[in-house]
């Protein structure tokens, strides 16, 4: 059974169909790429899947249940976490606090317990701290845990954002152009890391990339989006040789 299934998803902005008839199906454990030229509607598709926008029509099923009409935080709580194309960290907070916030909805202690530091407060806070540091260690950020997020170098901000998304303990991770702004070497490292976390955390990943060649190496299956619609899907090899895809990318990338 598919973990995520979107059928005939469409959204209209002021008469303009930004995404139309968007169909994807992702099985548990897959690493899928969503590519397309600039302005194809990739991020809009992500925003539909994560509840930032409500679809004009169509269905989204996650883990067998519909997520249409849910707020973004509810979708996250169901098990979909994401990163953003233009990094959205909690810029003025420490690296550690950024990760801690992702644990928020797993925390069980209540308001009164927090205000008077009683009951489960101490135990759970200690757990959160421990887990958060563990994540930072995985992403080689542990020694920077007290730095203010906005003062990190760009590449580390990207890593922190992924670490934060993972800390929400999702089943499905959506990465929006994670390699944007990185040099080839950094990109290479990032792709390896993505493969590694997928295995380590038993994750399903959907990845947006604008740069086709990057996803080829890492993704098992690829969807191609152009003018808001899926124009092709298949293995990297199939996509590479698909004439419609080449046409869509023509002039974009030589």
């Amino acid at each position: 059974m598919a973990l995520l299934k979107a059928t005939k998803l469409s959204i209209v902005f002021g008469g303009l169909r930004a995404v139309s008839n968007f169909n994807v199906e992702i099985a548990p454990g897959e690493l899928v790429g969503l590519i397309g030229p600039n302005g194809a509607g990739k991020t809009t598709a992500f925003n539909l899947l994560t509840g930032v926008y409500q679809p004009t029509e169509g269905q989204i099923e996650f883990d067998g249940k519909s997520t249409v009409g849910l707020k973004p935080y509810q979708i996250t709580q169901r098990g979909i976490a994401r990163t953003f194309q233009n990094i959205r960290l909690f810029a003025d907070l420490s690296v550690l606090d950024n990760v801690k916030i992702a644990y928020h909805f797993h925390v069980k202690y209540g308001l009164v317990e927090s205000m008077f530091r009683i009951g489960r407060y101490h135990k759970e806070e200690a757990e959160i701290e421990e887990k958060a540091i563990k994540f930072l260690e995985i992403f080689q950020l542990a020694d920077k845990k007290d730095e203010i997020a906005k003062n990190l170098p760009y590449g580390e901000q990207r890593r922190l954002e992924i670490a934060r998304a993972l800390a929400a303990q999702p089943k499905l991770l959506l990465l929006d152009e994670p390699a944007a702004g990185m040099n080839p070497q950094e990109t290479q490292q990032l792709m390896e890391m993505i493969r590694w976390i997928k295995k380590e955390f038993n994750l399903t990943i959907l990845l947006i990339e604008h740069d086709m060649s990057l996803v080829m190496g890492v993704c098992e299956r690829i969807y191609v989006l152009d003018y808001g619609s899926i124009i092709a899907q298949g293995t990297p090899m199939e996509i590479k040789n698909n004439p419609r895809v080449i046409e869509a990318y023509l002039g974009e990338e030589v």
């Binding site: 973004p72 953003f84 909690f90 606090d97």
Partner: protein, 322 residues
């Protein structure tokens, strides 16, 4: 180990509080601190409660509210009704004032917190005025003449206990997962949602808690000055509180406390120059903002590290918009 450390710091804080209380109480009992400064110390305490609670809304959660005086008014009037008309004990009246203000904060916050930025500001300002005008028209609580004949129950002990209580509770709240959720709303609402934070819930929660503590401040206020009067709760009062929040630093509790102490103190010290008081005060506001737009402490808490950085040179600005 960590747990022990935390408990230890809590105990130390408690000891420090008791020490401060003992010192000031002794000074009061021995008449070293005269009645005028006693009164201003009580005012400082009330202002600390107001400023810290507004900082929770404005500074930590990033919701631009300027209607705090309205909630203070609710606390002042509800508690006065409870003690004067229903002869309830003071502590019950304070609880009633806090509940009343909190409940209204919840009812108002739920619809209005969908607005953001300056629109929320004008909406909250309007709500504060609506509260005041409504009170002005209720003759049961004295209308324009104010609610008179309120007994003076508040004294230094009450004020100190509630100030410490407020700071303790709000500080703990901030340091918990709920507080972090509020801060994440301020930092980046969209990212907060994406991290599973119910942003609406936390905005309303912060607003409700802030309003409830403003209600506590109002209760202490009316039971110190014998009267609750609509003119004490105009939008200028809200501005006063906001000014202290910004001056101390949005998102800094120690900043709020410092600003409340400083501005109350300045206001009392200027009392001898009535013609010039507001002019000096306004110039001071402008100059302080020009030199420290992020407030005295930015969004940091006062710490030894920070002190050394102050002496060490420039501190990089940590600022966020409203």
């Amino acid at each position: 180990m960590k747990l022990l450390q935390k408990t230890k710091s809590d105990i130390m804080a408690l000891v420090a509080c008791l020490a401060v209380y003992a010192i000031i109480q002794t000074l009061i009992l021995t008449d070293v601190i005269g009645p005028f400064w006693q009164l201003n110390i009580v005012l400082i305490g009330i202002n600390i409660i107001l400023v810290v609670s507004l900082n929770l809304i404005n500074g930590f959660t990033g919701q631009f509210s300027i209607g705090h005086a309205g909630f203070m008014a609710i606390g002042a009037y509800v508690s006065a009704v409870l003690t004067v008309k229903f002869q309830l004990p003071f502590i019950a009246a304070i609880a009633g004032g806090a509940l009343g203000a909190g409940a209204l904060g919840f009812a108002i916050g739920l619809p209005t917190l969908r607005l953001n930025g300056d629109y929320l500001a004008i909406a909250t300002l309007g709500l504060g005025e609506i509260i005041r005008i409504t009170i002005l028209n209720i003759s049961y609580v004295g209308g324009a003449s104010g609610f008179m004949g309120i007994p003076r129950y508040t004294d230094f002990t009450w004020m100190f206990a509630f100030t410490v209580f407020t700071v303790f509770v709000i500080k703990n709240f901030i340091d918990s997962t709920h507080g972090r959720a509020c801060i994440s709303v301020r930092e980046n609402e969209i990212a907060a949602e994406a991290m599973g934070v119910d942003t609406t819930k936390y905005k309303v929660l912060a607003f409700t808690i802030g309003a409830a503590f403003a209600g506590v401040a109002g209760s202490l206020f009316s039971h110190y000055f014998y009267i609750a009067h609509p003119a004490s709760f105009t939008f200028m009062k809200s501005f006063d509180i906001l000014t202290m929040v910004v001056l101390g630093g949005l998102g800094s509790i120690s900043g709020s406390i410092t600003a409340a102490v400083l501005l109350t103190f300045v206001s009392a010290a200027l009392a001898s120059y009535p013609e010039w008081r507001m002019i000096i005060y306004s110039l001071m506001l402008i100059i302080l903002m020009l030199y420290r737009p992020q407030g005295l402490f930015g969004n940091k808490e006062l710490s030894l590290k920070m002190l050394s950085r102050w002496t060490g040179g420039k501190k990089h600005g940590s600022t966020q918009g409203n």
